[in-house]
């Protein structure tokens, strides 16, 4: 998997915005016809129904700014996995499907719940500020957008690179008696 662009609490990084609309479903993120394949193949078709330019054009560290209800539909975690595979650093939206929300953090993909996500413009550069009291987005025009706080154990999951990585860390700690 590609490295995410956010490094740790308090850190910031610059990201380019890709805009999509509301109600982006898991069939759009991970189309069923490709589900029999691995994540490399599925990722090539991620969002192709709404942004045919996305999979080929997205760069590691970019972010998606979406409308409400991002990730509705199936439990297929490849929907989040494809974004992570393509190097997406975060998805910013006013609301997410709860099932997608869990899957994203389990795969180490940061989701930011931000009522003003719709104000972000296609192609603009934003900085993600991961502060303990709640993540913030810093726009080039100086505006700061506050996001809903994220429970610490979910931030730990993102920083570890997902649940599998976290379980591996715990295994290692247990083995070394830490």
């Amino acid at each position: 998997m590609s490295a995410a662009a956010h490094e740790g609490e308090g850190s910031s990084s610059s990201a380019r915005v890709w805009r999509v609309g509301a109600d982006i479903d898991t069939d759009v993120l991970a189309p069923g016809a490709y589900m029999k394949h691995g994540i490399e193949v599925i990722a090539q078709h991620c969002l192709q129904a709404v942004r045919p330019d996305f999979a080929a054009g997205v760069q590691a560290g970019d972010v998606i700014a979406a409308g409400a209800n991002f990730g509705i539909g199936s439990s297929r975690e490849q929907a989040a996995g494809a974004l992570r595979h393509l190097g997406v650093a975060a998805v910013i939206a006013p609301s997410f499907s709860g099932l997608f929300f869990r899957n994203a953090f389990n795969l180490g993909l940061l989701l930011l719940t931000c009522p003003q996500a719709g104000e972000l413009q296609e192609g603009e550069a934003v900085q993600l500020l991961l502060q303990p009291e709640g993540p913030q987005l810093l726009r080039a025009n100086g505006q700061q957008l506050a996001c809903a706080p994220i429970p610490g154990f979910l931030m730990d999951m993102v920083q570890a690179g997902g649940l599998l990585a976290l379980l591996k860390q715990r295994n290692r700690s247990a083995t070394h008696g830490v």
Partner: protein, 425 residues
């Protein structure tokens, strides 16, 4: 200290968390009573991760594996996934494997795996179906399932409860599917806000178990985490027949919300509800059937965990008995489980459907999952399934209208979207 009245959701979560009660909003760790996964979300994803961790499944007696997504697609890649799944099931010595005998959400209760009071997870988004049996059951992805397989535990944020209170009883030809399409139109695709929905009132208690399962099943389309129904005599009778041990069916009345428990109330009237149809490309895009009289589907599909249970097959047969579908309409029926199909055969329901011109397909997710057998470009489909997202059941040019099995059958009969009340004898 006086105990605060608890919702059904709070009681189920508290039990699984080993607590006397839990408060809305707190995050708790629950012990998992049952984990279900299938050929898409299961071994092919879990096996490499378990091997990477050097870990094993915490308790195979609590795992049910169902092969339903990639069976009967007739595709080489799909066949490889099915073979890998079977091989892994033997390797892991899984005691509960249901292979090509129906869709996970239907075969799980059919085989007596669910009973009131359990906390269960499923590797599929329609897992809230288990809520019809008084279980707190919800869908998770494969990596989270790995976490459950390794630890036997899962975190839950205690949800608020949205109580869907249905007064009155449904008219003939109107069913649970119509109730859910109407609810989703009113609250929106994410109106459930990942909270717990509880279905209650005379319009719900009057329903059979398969119909209640449709309510809980489509809680997924509401974006709820769980879709619960308090256990009653109907639940107990159904589960007793599936072989659930008597001790699990005692005191089921505990698995209901306390009087005065805090919830968000939404009132509905079942007696005045007309059949509902969801236009492409969202289940929330729903209006009364009368608004769609000019739509002429070429394919009528009765399938999936949502719309091809025994009760759904009976509904379609009640419309089509002694009749034949209109010229140019293809009627496809994929019964949700082999056992339900056998029962439908015994009742003469399958013969009525075949005589009406139906092609009967395998007991699998079929076209609903969009993983293999899908519809061809430009098709207009009326379907008893749960989702009509663009591109889900075929190319983006396929238009899928969602409706009840009554409405799908009536529309196949007339060759245009039809109110089943007009054609029911």
């Amino acid at each position: 200290m006086n105990a605060t009245p608890q919702t059904l959701a709070q009681k189920l979560i508290a039990r699984a968390a080993g607590r006397s009660q839990v408060a809305v909003g707190e995050i708790v760790t629950c012990r998992v009573d049952l984990a279900m996964f299938h050929d898409s979300s299961g071994p092919r994803r879990l096996k490499p991760m378990l091997e990477e961790l050097g870990a094993q499944i915490w308790d195979t007696s609590k795992v049910v594996l169902v092969l339903d997504h990639y069976v009967s697609t007739g595709d080489t890649d799909a066949q490889k996934i099915v073979e890998l799944t079977r091989h892994t099931a033997r390797q892991w010595k899984l005691p509960h494997v249901i292979d090509s005998e129906g869709i996970c959400h239907v075969v799980l209760p059919e085989r007596g795996h669910l009973h009131p009071g359990m906390l269960c997870v499923g590797g599929d988004s329609h897992s809230p179906t288990g809520g019809a049996f008084g279980c707190y059951m919800f869908g998770i992805g494969a990596t989270e399932m790995l976490g459950v397989c390794v630890t036997g535990e899962i975190w839950v944020q205690v949800p608020r409860t949205l109580r869907m209170q249905w007064q009155g009883t449904l008219q003939r030809g109107v069913c649970a599917k119509d109730m859910m399409l109407h609810t989703i139109a009113r609250l929106g695709m994410n109106g459930g806000q990942y909270q717990a929905v509880e279905f209650a009132g005379p319009g719900v208690t009057a329903l059979s178990m398969p119909e209640r399962m449709t309510l809980s099943n489509m809680s997924a389309e509401l974006g709820a985490q769980a879709g619960l129904i308090a256990a009653d005599a109907t639940t107990v009778d159904y589960l007793r027949a599936t072989g659930v041990a008597p001790e699990h069916l005692q005191d089921v009345s505990n698995w209901s919300s306390d009087e005065g428990a805090d919830c968000e109330l939404h009132g509905f009237d079942a007696s005045t509800l007309p059949p509902q149809v969801a236009a492409p490309h969202s289940p929330a895009n729903t209006r009364a059937v009368a608004d769609f009289a000019n739509v002429t589907p070429g394919i009528a599909y009765i399938g999936a965990c949502t719309g091809a249970k025994l009760e759904d097959l009976r509904a379609a047969a009640s419309v089509l008995k002694g009749r034949h579908v209109a010229a140019g309409v293809q009627l496809l029926v994929a019964p949700a489980s082999a056992r339900e199909q056998q029962q439908a055969e015994r009742e003469g329901v399958m013969q009525i459907l075949r005589d009406a011109g139906a092609s009967v397909l395998g007991n699998s997710c079929g076209a609903c999952a969009g993983y293999g057998a899908s519809f061809s470009a430009g098709a207009t489909v009326i379907s008893s399934t749960a989702r009509n997202f663009k591109g889900r059941m075929g190319p983006a040019s396929v238009d899928v209208y969602l409706a009840s099995p009554y409405t799908v059958a009536a529309s196949a009969l007339r060759g245009r979207i039809t109110d089943p009340r007009e054609v029911l004898a």
